[in-house]
Subunit: 308 residues, 2 copies
């Protein structure tokens, strides 16, 4: 799947990923009204609104981008119907040729990690059948439990040619509380990065590994170091735009070949119509605003890459 991600990035010339993290406050009233009219003010109604919102955005932007990253928490909060909307979104994006990164940040040990890996990247055995539970292409994973927690995910990746992005340095203000603490003279995130590099070596595609890392756009100096620590790993970069990360800060997350990173924007794209810059599109044409925001983001990042 890392090969498909690279092929999609080359085809679109866009090292970006759009986060499909629908919050109720983002969804225009004409969509929620229609969904509530059909399903009531229920979890089903909310899930229908989420799905219609996602579908309209994906229809408008799928030709511009290589990948999407649905954040499962935003669906899980609407219970079972919400998770059905997640699954529908995953399936629809795959139909459209997009690589789907399930932002699930799962992580446990042994058979439990294996169950999560099966749920999101693998197939589950039921009697004589092999069935696909959620079927994303990549999943994000939390490393706090160590190799026991990661190994079962890598096993499934090898079998299914799927991929991982392991949390190394997250984009939030308090990520340093534990991640930046000094261990043997180096910050913990570097130690985690070294482990990611080892795991990555064990699971290579052609130029890049199936095992990537998450490094926030908000810490560009650390990104520069981590790029070198994990040379064969793609870096998924959250924190661009709304969280404050700038394109000029992100060039060091890429390798010389112009690959090696994929920059995420979520609300900056899906709720673009709420920004002054795109307000002219109006709530009715929210998806048109998202398309323009994607075009602007790609130009911003490619411009910075060309200028380096």
């Amino acid at each position: 799947m890392i090969q498909k991600l690279i092929a999609n990035i080359r085809k679109t010339n866009a090292p970006v990923v759009v986060g499909l993290d629908p919050m109720m406050g983002f969804i225009p009233e004409h969509i929620t009204k229609k969904a509530f009219a059909e399903f009531g003010e229920t979890l089903e109604g909310a899930a229908e609104a989420v799905w219609q919102y996602n579908k309209a955005i994906v229809d408008e932007i799928y030709d511009l981008i290589p990948a999407v990253k649905p954040q499962i928490a935003m669906y899980e909060q609407f219970g079972i119907p919400g998770l059905m909307a997640f699954k529908k979104t995953v399936d629809y994006c795959k139909e459209k040729g997009l690589v789907v990164i399930g932002d699930v940040k799962r992580g446990d040990i042994g058979s439990t990690s294996a169950a999560y890996a099966t749920a999101h990247l693998g197939k589950v055995k039921v009697g004589s059948q092999l069935l696909t539970p959620f079927g994303e292409d990549f999943a994000t994973v939390n490393p706090y439990l160590g190799t026991d927690g990661i190994k079962p995910f890598i096993d499934v990746c090898k079998e299914e040619k799927k991929g991982l992005f392991i949390l190394v340095k997250t984009s939030n203000p308090s990520s340093g509380e534990f991640q930046d603490r000094t261990v043997d003279g180096r910050p913990l995130y570097e130690l985690v990065g070294e482990k990611v590099a080892q795991w990555a070596d064990s699971c290579m595609g052609e130029e890049y590994s199936y095992v990537g890392a998450v490094v926030g756009a908000t810490y560009p100096e650390m990104g520069k170091v981590l790029r070198k620590v994990m040379p064969k790993s793609f870096i998924l970069v959250p924190g661009y735009g709304a969280q404050g990360g700038k394109a000029s800060d992100l060039v060091h997350y890429f390798n010389e070949d112009g690959l090696g990173a994929i920059v995420n924007s979520s609300r900056g794209i899906i709720a673009a119509y709420k920004q002054e810059k795109y307000a002219a599109f109006g709530a009715e044409n929210f998806a048109g605003a998202s398309r323009q925001a994607v075009i602007d983001m790609i130009e911003d990042i490619n411009g910075a890459l060309q200028a380096r």
Copy 2:
């Protein structure tokens, strides 16, 4: 909810929790056969088998124990139908008066952590309605992202009187890879434990906090230290039995009041009929074997507590 947990522990005189972590290999053939006959070898069939298996065990043991801990990964691997079985299990256990600890190990930042907290412990606003997505009483949470990741969970706990168990030192062999690394002369898990103690202070019930911790039974010396670091937190202790933790090792996880810890066993209880010790029950009476295993576990732990 910490008050209900304490009341339940006092009523049953059993500081234990049973992990409802159904793997297909645990479920007796007569149950899977019946489920597959009705629903086919499908995700629905697997979910039905899981639910019938859980229900039979809960019916047999609910009067003996204060709480259950369903591991959501084991349900998530069967996709949407699996998660419906999770929800049914949560609801049924609550009906039976049990405290339900959702072993979900979620953790993200800001609005995403808030969405997870809503999904598992809170209520979600849909139009004018407040609806309950999954409705567990406690959730397990991963601390790698720092306070930004934990705070939204604590906010929901305060509002809903729900609780957390934050991963501090996990029971698996490689948990030390990051958790044991020395930071300012102390292991990282101690630093995380200190943070848990601070978070716990901000969210007190009567004697104990709504914010607890996970410390594996397999590291009793560390448990002894962490007990003192987090005096007001309940410790959820995995790793008893199957993973090697012994009752005599666990006494230091408890405070002088006999409270402060709750020891989990999963496969040791739910798959007891597969052990030589309980084989006489047979696969047909698997739930009877589970009941006897619970009785033995309570006796083992209470014996060790009395002997200290």
